[in-house]
Amino acid sequence: MFDSVIVSGIATIIIGVGGMFAYFWLSNLFLDKVLFPPTGKDIGRNINRANMVRPWLFLFPAIFALGLYLVVPVFYSAWLSFTSGVAAEGSWYRNYSEIFQNETFRVSLLNNLLWVLVVPAASTFFGLVAAQLTDKLSWGNFAKSLIFMPMAISFVGASLIWSFVYHPDIEIGVINAIRGLFGAEEGVTLIDGQIVDSFLLMVVLIWIQTGFAMVILSAALRGVPEETIEAAIIDGANPFQIFFRIKVPQIIGTIVVVWTTITILVLKVYDIVAAMGNQYRNLEILPTQMMQYFDSGNYGFATAISVVIMILVLPVMVWNIRQARAETR
């Protein structure tokens, strides 16, 4: 049975890649040889027409896949959230009014906001510190590589790694062992469903995202013109002043980009809470709530929560699009 899975995987690669290539090649051939051949008396008009059609041949598979897998679902989800589940019987907003009355939903919304406040700020801060520290160091690249490494680790793997750090046994968990150094005799259970335990889960994501922030901010720091720093040194600025007054203001744009990128990620994060805090209601966030309703087939509530997540993402999305448009102009 596994053999068949592997075979179908290889077949899919061949059919997928080969098929795509055949599509692009044949459709271009058809356009140039059959539909608008650059020969005969209409040569000029045909070339123009072919050039008008060709971009859409190139774009069609991508537009089709993006449309089917992202654009249509966004509107479909919004529509379902107004028409399915309890909204089918009552007024169109009943899915929303009922989830907002649900205590667990309110806890997860609050938790999500906490995550959004803490994780991007902390990751960006540590990333900036790491970028500055490693900047002129002989072994800076080695250090960066190690701080960057968690980026490759799955959220589930990272959750296991940190669950072990938080292990309640004083002879197993590092945190409890450190408490032991300061005289604690017994280990304590660190994650037991208190609201504040969310912070212990956030540490996992901060640990992963700091490397990302560091890599980008480090490149930005290298781009800070030397003259500005030399001028500050001549004026007698100390290293902290140089960092906060000269360097940071010049890379503030990149800091904002890093911050918003991590914010988007935080809004969607699911795995860490699913792996580490699954049994505790107080640690729930919107994506875990959404998946519970999804798994139990309650599509009304599930889509309503996904629309709430979308609304939280919307400001960043609008800002991103405006930035991108400003750049391409």
Partner: protein, 408 residues
Amino acid sequence: MDNIAGQKSGLSIATHLATLLLVVIWIVPTVGLLITSLRDQDAISQTGWWRALQGAPQTMILSVPVEGQVQEGDRWVLEANIFEGEPAGDLPPDILEKQTVESFGVSRLRGANVAAGGSAETRDGVTVTLTEDGTLTATAPERMEGPLNLPVALIAPPQMTLANYAEVLTDMSAEERAEARERGQTLTDMLFSDEALFGPFINTMTVAIPATIIPILIAAFAAYALAWMDFPGRGLLIAIVVGLLVVPLQLAFVPLTIIHGWLGIGKSFLGIWLAHTGFGLPLAVYLLRNYMVGLPRDIIENAKVDGATDFEIFVRIVLPLSFPALASFAIFQFLWTWNDLLVASVFLPADTESTVMTRFVVTNLLGSRGGEWHILAAAAFVMIAVPLVVFFSMQRFLVRGLLAGSVK
């Protein structure tokens, strides 16, 4: 700049130390679990992984004969080494090799409660001193009768073992594997048994590789059109791609479950390949377009003048030149699909035949074997080994891709 008086040395030592501290904090959690995954099941629960190299103490009752005692003044004195002669007879060879006493005691009930080098007195008034190297001195007011039975915690040298990995990949301990072999099971049977991690490992690979390769070509053609072809609506399309970069995947789950149901795909590998392709495309198109726009205009225009079609320019010139960008996207997409839990929970059936590692760990291992860290640690490293190899061998491309994509 570096020679401004008095500033450099002090600050740079602080920088070295601060960086070192940061790096240590960052890698200790991973190193801890890695070491744990290589330790014996019993050792994990006895001592912390940071003591793995010291070896774990094993407490056993040693029976020291008292025949060698001599009278000195009014006291009877016995001098012996517990690693020699009769008491050593029952000791495992690895402990004999290490010859280290961690602690000892004089009462079976209280166990080995005195650190090596200290002394303790038995109920019969025998004062016992035992040093770390096993030298035992016992003095008693009267002649000692019968052997001294002492609980002693001896250090067993660290044993690094791959047994945990074998156990998690086959879901059988070494003895169970031996029994299974006797029943006529082959290694393949064991690896593909129901609760073994090896199956999910293969599944993860089956999900990740097509889901990485398929979007690349689709995205590359689209990126070329968005970068080098002129047509109405191009700016709008780019804006839409940028917008789609941040759309929460959660919005797609219910609709795509319904759509896949209509199409007859249902929950299957085909479904997850298509889903990952769709979800990966915005980043792919965005990264590749940003890269292709930066290619020198001359090359492309010269080729056009020479009569090359767009298709030829793309295949012969742009695609080979874009290799670094293709590589960075491939790494991102591979890491993301390999590490994904959410998309796999939605688009793949839950049975072990098609589940991926992340999901297997969360639902099967964390639930039923939540306390068995020898299993969990090994499972974690089976899961993250491939991404780590990809990460360290291709870091250059990863960083380049991040920097190109950081405009978002």
